[in-house]
């Protein structure tokens, strides 16, 4: 059974290879991608149910002992996040097939395979119990996302892709240096062993390693002041790509941070993390308010919301970590759906600019409904998952008497609400704008786009409905993470 998790990496890679080989045959190529992603998704759910019932398990890749080789670990944290991530990619790919003729532009033939590579990278990043393999996974994600961003060869995309790739390569370099520090200090890159040995280190080195990886993962997660690569690059990409990016990329960064910093018990960094979390929330929310384009508003919200997860982590309490994990699980689908709805708006209006749209609620009530649900969730309003996640994080803050960050989190919530009303007032209310020029899409493709978005919205509702069990699982995952020895036991087998 512990081989199953490998399928989440292997299946997308194989589908990428098949899709690339069959790139001249659109149907076969799309089929290959869908099959690969579906297999991976099913495997991830099977892993979740298995782990929930039987506890965490590890897979020693190639049969090498954890001290020497690479180990993949399906602990509850990984098993929870993996199905969410893979389902998102699958849904977006369905949407993308519908939108392909309009938005993938010049090179639709590569989109599927590239998404396959991205998926493999995401699965690997989530499952790996090895810091170096995490680096490799980040590289896979970075390269495939960069190519996805620029492969249409449009000027704006290449220019903003420059910021994206330079900043992320810089972060990769810092990651590599961090690996050197860790290997020099502990003699291993295995996460479980690192977690065991780090407490024995001199306090300076220990905190230094934590701070260093805070910068590395923080860049990936787009925290203040390291988020600059995100708002420039996200909106220029085709919607479907942005939807995947927004739902996954920064989340992998925060995922890695939650795993690394909790396993290694970096409580000393808590205050710094809380300060950065507060600034990230507010600056992101302000950034969103400043925009007048749906996709740009949503991009800045990615940043703002990362602040809440960082807040949960920075509290370094069981309730805080639980909140961070729950927030992560809530946020990934909600953010993706919002970008997909942004795609629907763009399709309908010919642009996602607030000035150029209007009156969509009357013309397309379905789009309005599809937007309203995740938007309310994002703003943290009940009865959606966003409310539960925010409540969990804020309650943890109150438990730890971290008043300033709680106040900041509430203020950022109000700002989020304001920018969501900005979208609602600009796009859905008001008068129908004559200037809008719908992108022509064949009805079949449009139906596919609506189906995918609808499915995703239902998915977010399921997350809301199952918030109770998901909270319990998050709490169990947090308990395991905070107790490094259980992770080590799993890795040792």
């Amino acid at each position: 059974m512990n081989q199953l998790m490998a399928l989440t990496i292997v299946a997308p890679l194989l589908s990428a290879a098949t899709g690339f080989t069959l790139r001249r045959h659109p149907r076969a190529r799309d089929a290959a991608t869908i099959v690969g992603l579906t297999v991976a998704t099913i495997a991830s759910f099977a892993t979740l149910f298995f782990v929930r019932a039987n506890g965490a398990h590890a897979l020693n890749v190639g049969g090498w002992s954890p001290e020497l080789g690479i180990v993949l670990v399906a602990d509850l944290f990984a098993a929870l996040v993996l199905p969410v991530a893979l389902t998102i990619i699958l849904v977006v790919e369905i949407f993308a097939i519908g939108q392909r003729r309009t938005a993938w532009g010049a090179n639709p033939e590569f989109a599927g395979p590239l998404l396959g590579v991205l998926t493999a990278g995401v699965s690997l990043a989530i499952l790996t119990g090895d810091l170096f393999t995490l680096f490799v996974a980040f590289e896979l994600i970075l390269v495939s996302s960069y190519v996805l961003l620029t492969h249409q060869g449009q000027r704006g995309q290449i220019r903003s892709g420059m910021t994206y790739v330079v900043m992320n390569l810089f972060a990769s370099t810092l990651f590599l240096l961090g690996l050197a520090f860790v290997y020099a200090a502990t003699g291993t890159v295995n996460l479980a062993l690192i977690a065991e040995r780090i407490p024995e280190l001199d306090a300076g080195v220990r905190v230094g390693i934590g701070a260093w990886f805070f910068v590395v993962f923080g860049t990936k997660a787009a925290i203040f002041p390291l988020f600059s690569w995100l708002p420039d690059s996200y909106p220029t990409a085709p919607t479907t790509i942005t939807a995947v990016f927004a739902g996954l990329l920064t989340k992998i960064g925060i995922y890695a941070m939650i795993r690394f910093h909790t396993l290694t018990g970096m409580e000393d960094l808590g205050p710094v993390m809380l300060i950065i979390a507060g600034i990230t929330m507010v600056v992101g929310a302000f950034g969103a308010l400043a925009q007048s384009d749906v996709k740009r508003i949503l991009s800045f919200h990615v940043i703002s919301q990362i602040g809440y997860m960082l807040m949960g982590l920075g509290l370094f309490s069981l309730a805080g970590t639980t909140g961070a994990i729950l927030f992560l699980i809530h946020h990934m689908p909600v953010k993706t759906v919002l970008f997909l709805v942004g795609g629907l708006v763009e399709n309908e209006e010919g642009s996602s600019s607030l000035e150029l749209s209007g009156g969509l609620a009357a013309r397309r009530p379905l789009i309005a409904a599809l937007f309203a649900i995740p938007a309310l969730s994002l703003a943290g309003l009940p009865p959606f998952s966003g409310f539960v996640a925010k409540l969990a994080v804020i309650r943890a803050g109150i438990e730890e008497a971290a008043t300033p960050i709680v106040v900041v989190a509430l203020v950022a919530g109000a700002l989020t609400l304001l920018s969501m009303t900005k979208i609602w007032l600009g796009v859905f209310w008001g008068v129908d704008n004559d200037a809008s020029s719908p992108v022509s899409t064949a009805p079949a493709n449009r139906r596919l786009m609506f189906t995918a978005t609808g499915l995703a919205v239902v998915g977010t509702l399921v997350v809301s409905l199952l918030a109770g069990p998901l909270f319990d699982l998050s709490q169990r995952a947090a308990t395991d993470l905070r107790d490094g020895s259980s992770y080590a036991e799993v890795v040792r087998g």
Partner: protein, 751 residues
């Protein structure tokens, strides 16, 4: 009981869906469908009132770990509120069928109104702070959608946004307050809340009062309510006078007992309430739009309720509940009448209206009955309720007596005044405004609600049976009080007479004034604040997201440098050795020299060559430490890179663009410090390691398990094959990217 509650809630939800699905059909039909659930709920509530007095509870767990549950408790307070929510709701649905033109289409209005109705029911049934909060936020959202019903008008959109942000922002403060309250009380169950005290409880009290004030349109958060009058009149009658704005009052009522020992609760509550009583009444006396007069009157009346509840004595709570009940009836009736006038004359301005007592006699009678109830004149329910309030004042002493007395007596005088001004302005003398034919569906609900004040006074005992238990539920000391039809010649009665006389004079004077309607203070400011926030956000964003890649990179380098600082703490002088052998020293000098030279050479080609020199030097270090294969790989890479640079440079200018001096210095400093920081961090890391790399184990395992004598090869192709696979895929992906860009360029040139 859980089954009944769920059935009623689900019936509402089915109504919402059905009404929404009638999207393109007739609005009237949708409203008819939507009215079914409120009717059923009203019938059930009346049945409950007649039946058992025992509170019933029901709970559905949502997130156990956060104490999140849908917990309902049907007690006397809930039943009273249900009667208002569903009873007045039924009237409003019927009224709306007449209000909108017969050929109006679109079921969304009906669906949203019913969605509000069910949210309000959930709110008044809630017995967990979280259930209350969930439905509280629902009412904010549905209110937003209903206020913005005519959203093609920009002013309506602004008003809707203002309403949402004030009530939504208040919701966030309330969230904090409820969290703190739950922490202090140790429970989230409202009926189990005990008395709380301490700093957290004080903070909780303030937050909850602020949240309540935003919802109940209390000073200084009242500014959204006049704007919300942009909604269709059925909405104004239902949400913004009879039910939703009562949510804040209800919240103060149910938490009041717990905050008895928290002094700021009473002080702040009375302050907010008294301010609203006065400021709301002044607004009602100055505005000339009949609907706005009523809206400002609501601010004032709710202020009175908050004042009484904040004082929290048994008699005050009893009076508050009685006024709450009476207010819902008369205010809804008045709104319905104004809506009818609006539809039948096309205006709501008291400047344009006149003589309607003759042309709209039924509306006039209804408004007079409701208005007199509002003014607290006999023989109407409002009289009995206000008598209770005056009695409550007389039982107080000291400052409380003065403040609450000002609110009750002063507020009542002003109420009489604006009621008189309203009646005179709308129905009074003047040339008769032409009216369109009556619509029965609008008239009947208004008459029923307006007449209820009269009937209530006649069967005062019946009203007492509803109000009394509810007040007792909130404060057990209320149980001894009751509503009186004829109090006798008491002090309170004397005061009441004085109120009526004083108010009549004031109202008559005010109605003579033709001063134009004032500009609403606060609404514009709050809009400007929101727009200012958006403006400010643009400045902040331009500051952090300026678009300069070098500055971004410098920021990251600076962050990394800060992160390297802690390492210095782990560094002893003994850990720093320059080099292990003279050759190493020479190599290091060459590497550093090349790097520095690279920073200063002006031409791109020179820079590429110095970079190559750095790489070659590193290869030399590999040789020194016995890794010739690694060194060969490194040399190969460096050669390819330099060749690549040279080929690529052909497309660029020869030299680097000019950089200004300061910026150049900054970059130099960041680079040098960065390099030094990394070097020291690495030295510190290796100074006192907590574990050793498994070098010997790797060497053995490579041979025995991997079957290869070259350890590096075995590591790359077997032990860490997954990493290698990943990197191979990375390279393949880069190749795809190049291919894609080349294709894109080719197709771009072809077209």
């Amino acid at each position: 009981m859980i089954r009944v509650i769920l059935t009623l809630l689900v019936a509402h939800l089915i109504g919402v869906v059905l009404a929404a699905l009638l999207g393109s059909g007739s609005l009237r039909r949708a409203l008819g469908v939507a009215a079914v659930a409120p009717v059923a709920t009203s019938v059930w509530a009346v049945g409950q009132l007649a039946g058992s007095a025992e509170p019933a509870e029901a709970s559905l767990t949502w997130v156990a770990g956060l104490d999140l549950a849908l917990t309902f408790r049907i007690d006397a307070v809930a039943l009273l509120m249900t009667l208002l929510v569903s009873g007045i709701g039924t009237m409003v649905f019927v009224y709306a069928m007449g209000y909108f033109p017969a050929d109006a289409t679109g079921g969304r209005f009906a669906a949203t109104l019913l969605a509000f109705s069910v949210s309000m029911l959930g709110l008044v049934w809630a017995d967990s702070v979280w259930t209350l909060f969930i439905f509280w936020e629902f009412t904010s959202i549905t209110s937003f959608l209903l206020v913005g019903y005519k959203h093609t008008d920009p002013a309506v959109r602004t008003a809707a946004r203002r309403a949402l942000l004030i009530t939504g922002g208040g919701g966030l403060v309330l969230l904090a307050g409820l969290l703190l309250l739950a922490e202090s009380a140790g429970t989230t169950t409202i009926s189990a809340l005990g008395g709380v005290s301490g700093d957290r409880a004080t903070l909780a009290a303030i937050c909850i009062l602020v949240g309540a004030a935003t919802k109940s349109a209390q000073v200084p958060f009242h500014v959204w309510l006049p704007g919300a009058m942009a909604a269709p009149t059925p909405v104004s009658a239902y949400l913004h006078s009879a039910t939703m704005v009562k949510a804040g009052v209800l919240l103060v009522a149910v938490t009041g007992a717990s905050f008895a020992a928290v002094a700021p609760f009473k002080i702040l509550g009375i302050g907010i309430g008294l301010g609203s009583v006065v400021w709301g009444a002044i607004g009602a006396l100055r505005h000339r739009d009949a609907k706005l007069i009523l809206a400002w009157g609501t601010v004032s009346q709710l202020g009175l309720l908050i004042t009484l509840l904040a004082v929290g004595t048994g008699k005050a709570v009893f009076a508050a509940v009685a006024i709450l009940f009476a207010h819902a009836l008369f205010k809804a009736a008045l709104f319905l009448v104004v809506g009818e006038i609006d539809v039948r004359t096309g205006t709501r301005s008291i400047d344009e209206l006149g003589g309607l007592w003759r042309s709209m006699p039924i509306a006039f009678a209804t408004a007079t009955a409701a208005g007199l109830s509002m003014a607290g004149a006999p023989p109407l329910l409002g009289f009995a309720a206000k008598e209770a309030a005056v009695e409550a004042v007389l039982t107080l002493d000291g400052l409380d007596r003065f403040l609450v007395g000002s609110a009750v007596i002063g507020g009542s005088i002003l109420t009489v005044a604006y009621t008189l001004r309203f009646l005179l302005g709308v129905f009074g003398p003047g040339p008769a405004t032409p009216v369109r034919p009556r619509r029965l569906l609008m008239t009947v609900p208004a008459v029923l609600l307006g007449g209820a004040g009269l009937i209530g006074f006649v069967v005062l005992g019946g009203v007492d049976d509803i109000v009394g238990p509810a007040a007792t539920e909130l404060n057990s000391a209320s149980s001894v009080y009751g509503l009186l039809r004829w109090p006798g010649f008491t002090t309170a009665f004397g005061i009441s007479c004085g109120i009526l006389a004083g108010g009549a004079v004031l109202g008559w004077v005010a109605s003579r004034s033709s001063r134009p309607a004032p500009r609403t203070i606060g609404a514009m400011q709050s809009d400007r604040f929101l727009d200012g926030t958006i403006q400010r956000s643009r400045q902040i964003t331009a500051l952090v997201q300026h678009g300069s890649l070098p500055v971004y990179a410098a920021t990251m380098a600076a962050a990394a440098l800060l992160a390297a600082l802690p390492f210095l703490g782990g560094l002893g002088t003994g850990h720093l050795a320059g080099w292990n052998s003279p050759v190493e020293a020479v190599l290091c000098a060459a590497i550093v020299g090349s790097a520095v030279a690279g920073a200063f050479v002006g031409s791109r080609l020179g820079a590429a060559l110095t970079l190559g020199a750095v790489g070659t030097g590193v290869a030399g270090i590999f040789v020194l430490y016995g890794a010739p294969d690694l060194a060969l790989t490194q040399l190969l890479v460096e050669t390819i890179v330099v060749v690549g640079f040279v080929v690529g440079l052909g497309h660029l200018s020869q030299s680097f663009p000019k950089v200004d001096r300061t910026w150049r210095t900054v970059r130099l400093v960041v680079s040098v410090l960065g390099g030094t920081g990394v070097a020291l961090a690495l030295a510190a890391s290796g100074a006192d390691p907590a574990g050793q790399a498994p070098v010997a184990e790797l060497a053995t395992a490579a041979v025995t398990d991997g079957g290869g004598n070259n350890v590096v090869n075995v590591i790359l192709t077997d032990i860490r094959a997954l990493d290698t696979l990943g990197e191979v895929v990375v390279l393949a992906t880069v190749a795809i990217g190049i291919l894609a860009l080349a294709n894109a360029r080719l197709s771009g040139e072809a077209s």
